[in-house]
């Protein structure tokens, strides 16, 4: 049992990649460290549980990376996906630090492997965790425990005592009891608020009731809210979240990677009225998958259906639930509880608009529609080979962008712009500093590891002084 009467040098709130990197790095600086994870042990680590890789800059081919990925190229990718909504100084600092993380994280027991089957496009830029995100977490926890970091699970922080930008103590609920934890410095690494439906409703209204949350139910943003309420400056668009279209049959929480569907480009997507609403072939899937959550969220009832025929059934990664199958479009509509006549009309007018071309899903091919609104600009082929298939999809929320402003020391900035005396932040809770919008695969883990390591080191230094 952890002795909460003593004062720790560093208190880390959260239990994912960023939190553990902070705890390890603080401990390696000689600080005494307490980690408070709000989830039970099995669910420890928040979204890190569901991750699988990290994007780090590197100048040469490595054992597992197929080519160099320079700092400049990383920066250009970040600039592109965020549309410029990033802090250049912090982002370039993170990218520079990411090079060293490739080795540092291995020193903490994490193992790399080449990119997974079905993810070849990431083989040059992203390093994959052997065994996935939970294996990575397990390694970090083992290292932290061996170093003497104290860890409490089911330890939900319900209050923070902060005086004029200085952290004093945290009140936590542990089972039936509540207790207080004191520390000289705080690292907040407790994630975003994507699992807090009430909070999401502030921006999305009742539609949020139809959102599925891809990670654990524990990412409720309580720490983020306390910090912002107590004078920490905010960053990132509070109304936005990373949302993809996932299988509507997925559980409300924690369905993870296996409910994602990669077949939009192979068919058409219709809403509850059996009408198409967006160009399914706008760009290659890795560049477009992240817009479909929001697109579906904008449709009536927040539901849509990906419809395709038997010619493409095995062209994409398998997923958890089998597609719904029927011999005719009308029968398929019946199974989906759509108006059969309306779906037949939509498919017929789509088929009529498809122009001949040479299909190649790896490039922007010349298979497109003409005279159709909205158009399908690539990979358009007639749906005419039964049986026909459908996946129902809903918005699947991955993470939120709202966070706490930090500087290069990962130190939080207060609303008046001055740095906090002893409060640091790492991971999703501050990701909005470098990732104001959009996403590039693996960048969340880069933010977590780089700023976690920095935050731990700086918090330990801070506690010593």
């Amino acid at each position: 049992m952890v002795d909460l009467h003593r004062k720790f040098d560093v208190l880390v709130i959260g239990g994912g990649n960023a939190a553990l990197c902070a705890a390890i790095s603080a401990r390696q600086q000689g600080a005494s460290v307490l980690v408070l994870e709000g989830a039970p042990k099995f669910y420890r680590g928040g979204n890190t549980r569901h991750t699988r890789n990290m994007r780090c800059a590197h100048d040469a081919v490595t054992e597992i990376l197929t080519g160099p990925y320079t700092e400049q190229e990383f920066w250009e990718d970040l600039l592109r996906v965020t549309g410029g909504e990033t802090d250049e100084e912090l982002a370039r600092f993170m990218i520079a630090e990411s090079k060293d993380i490739l080795d540092w994280i291995v020193e903490q027991g994490v193992r790399w492997q080449p990119s997974l089957g079905g993810t070849l496009s990431l083989g040059r830029t992203n390093s994959f965790f052997l065994g996935g995100g939970r294996a990575m977490l397990n390694a970090l926890y083992r290292t932290a425990e061996a170093l003497g970091v104290e860890i409490m699970y089911d330890a939900e922080v319900i209050d923070l005592e902060i005086d004029n930008g200085m952290f004093l103590s945290a009140t936590l609920k542990h089972g039936e009891t509540s207790a207080s934890a004191c520390a000289s410095a705080l690292v907040a690494a407790a994630g975003g608020f994507e699992a807090n439906i009430e909070w999401l409703k502030q921006y999305w209204g009742e539609a949020a009731d139809n959102f599925l949350i891809r990670g654990t139910p524990y990412n409720r943003g309580a720490i983020l809210k306390m910090l912002l309420d107590r004078g920490v400056k905010e960053v990132g668009d509070p109304t936005q979240c990373h949302a993809v279209a996932i299988d509507a049959r997925a559980p409300r929480f924690d369905g993870g990677i296996i409910t994602r569907l990669d077949c939009v480009v192979f068919g058409i997507v219709v809403n509850r009225n059996a009408e198409r609403f967006y160009d399914e072939g706008e760009d290659i899937w890795p560049k477009r998958y992240a817009i479909w959550g929001r697109l579906v969220a904008g449709q009536p009832g927040q539901i849509a259906y990906i419809i395709f025929d038997s010619t493409v059934l095995t062209s994409f990664m398998p997923s958890l639930f089998p597609p719904i199958k029927a011999d005719t479009i009308a029968e398929l509509a019946g199974k989906l509880e759509l108006d059969p006549a309306a779906l037949e009309k939509t498919v017929a007018s789509f088929n009529a608009a498809v122009k001949p071309g040479t299909f190649d899903h790896t490039i922007l091919d010349d298979c497109r529609t003409e005279g159709l609104t909205p158009p399908k600009t690539h990979w358009a082929r007639k749906l005419e080979t039964p049986p026909y298939y459908a996946y129902p999809v809903r918005p699947g929320i991955t993470f939120t962008y709202l966070g706490t402003r930090v500087n290069k020391q990962a130190r939080m900035l207060m609303k008046d712009g001055r740095p906090s005396a002893n409060m640091f932040a790492a991971g999703e809770i501050m990701a909005g500093n470098v990732l104001g919008r959009g996403y590039a695969a693996g960048i969340g883990m880069t933010i977590g590891s780089v700023f976690g390591r920095v935050a731990g080191r700086e918090a330990a230094k801070n506690a010593r002084n």
Partner: protein, 372 residues
């Protein structure tokens, strides 16, 4: 859907795992799974026998219990694997021996030991049974070499026949045409993978047994056991060659090759099984197929007794205890031979065949050709 409920569950899990693939670097099971989108009974039995039960995919899985997806690959494949041993047993009438395997093996071993003891007592008078016999041919004072060779030769040939027929059924069921010769690079790859237990290390992290720490040492103890077994087998072969080609009769001096091989093997069969049995006791119950505890233990214990009685015979062969010890040792060796096709021993055979197939599949995928 499938022949059994456990294969249905294995199918469900492979669908989950094929949608995730995070574990593909841990072992051979997941890359083999990725080569398929649908799974026949044979495919699932192939994957089940490819699994080395290292436990890493359970500890690393974000969907393992208490998650509602309830993904427990090691346990599910362990049950399917044990089922497959019975399914491929030859002749079919003996498949039932797998149902209560611990009891079956214990009874067979007890009868075998008793038969040798009573047989020795019936054939030999007390003076011979409890006499001191030394020098070449000493053992044969108690049992004529011709009788020993005929009895054990027959048992051994039967075991080989039954094992070959079982393996043939497995090979056919996992989709390989009968009579297909495994190409030599695949065979060589499988020999190396089996000899080093390449896939019993969680992809490099280590194996899991007691809990979520990779502190397992089953690979080491399995090496002691398997190589101990092979050394003992080699000792028997060398002794046979000595007997027939050099005209030299057992027992041999302690420095002679059959005794050196047998002693080293005996030590392996002492240390290895004890380590494996201890690991089995400590194994996290969440990974275990409890209903097969008897089978898991019976073969290991038979090996342990074979090793221990062999070592005892070596130590006390110049005393009056030689007669009873010889009966005991021969009893266990005989039981071991005739139960080889009907116990845990077959895991090595099927796993090796699965490794050969995996090596072939990898090669075919790499060269872009498809299966037959």
């Amino acid at each position: 859907m499938h022949g059994t409920k456990i294969l249905d569950e294995a199918d469900r899990l492979m669908t989950v795992c094929n949608s995730c693939r995070y574990c593909e670097g841990l072992c051979a099971v997941f890359p083999a799974m990725e080569m398929r989108r649908a799974f026949s009974d044979g495919d699932l039995n192939y994957l089940a026998n490819l699994c080395h039960a290292c436990g890493a995919c359970y500890v690393d899985c974000q969907f393992s219990p208490p998650h509602e997806f309830n993904v427990n690959v090691p346990k599910t494949l362990a049950i399917a694997r044990a089922d497959s041993y019975a399914a491929y047993a030859w002749p079919r009438v003996f498949a039932g021996l797998f149902a209560r395997n611990g009891l079956a093996i214990s009874l067979i071993a007890a009868f075998s030991v008793a038969a040798f003891i009573f047989g020795f007592a019936a054939v030999n008078d007390r003076a011979v049974l409890y006499g001191i016999h030394t020098g070449p041919g000493a053992f044969y004072a108690l049992m004529p070499h011709s009788a020993m060779a005929a009895l054990f030769g027959a048992a051994f040939l039967y075991a080989i026949l039954a094992l070959v027929m079982s393996l043939r059924a497995f090979w056919r069921d996992i989709g390989e045409p009968v009579g297909m010769r495994a190409d030599s690079p695949s065979l060589w790859q499988a020999i190396r993978d089996a000899a080093t237990l390449r896939y019993l290390d969680g992809g490099g992290v280590g194996c899991f047994n007691d809990d979520d720490q990779p502190t397992d040492r089953r690979r080491l103890y399995h090496h002691f056991t398997a190589y101990g077994f092979l050394l003992c087998f080699a000792a028997t072969c060398v002794g046979t060659l000595y007997h027939y080609f050099l005209g030299r009769e057992a027992p041999y001096a302690w420095w002679d090759l059959p005794v050196l091989l047998g002693t080293l093997g005996g030590i392996g069969l002492f240390v290895g099984p004890i380590g494996l049995l201890a690991a089995k006791r400590q194994r996290d119950s969440v990974l275990v197929d409890e209903t097969r505890h008897g089978m898991e233990v019976a073969f290991t214990v038979t090996l342990l007794f074979t090793g221990v009685t062999g070592l005892a015979l070596l130590l006390w062969r110049d005393t009056t205890a030689m007669g009873p010890l010889l009966a005991l040792h021969l009893g266990f060796v005989f039981a071991l031979f005739i139960t080889l096709p009907y116990g845990k021993f077959v895991h090595g055979l099927y796993r090796f065949a699965a490794l050969v197939r995996y090596a072939r599949e990898r090669k075919m995928m790499a060269s872009g050709t498809t299966g037959e």
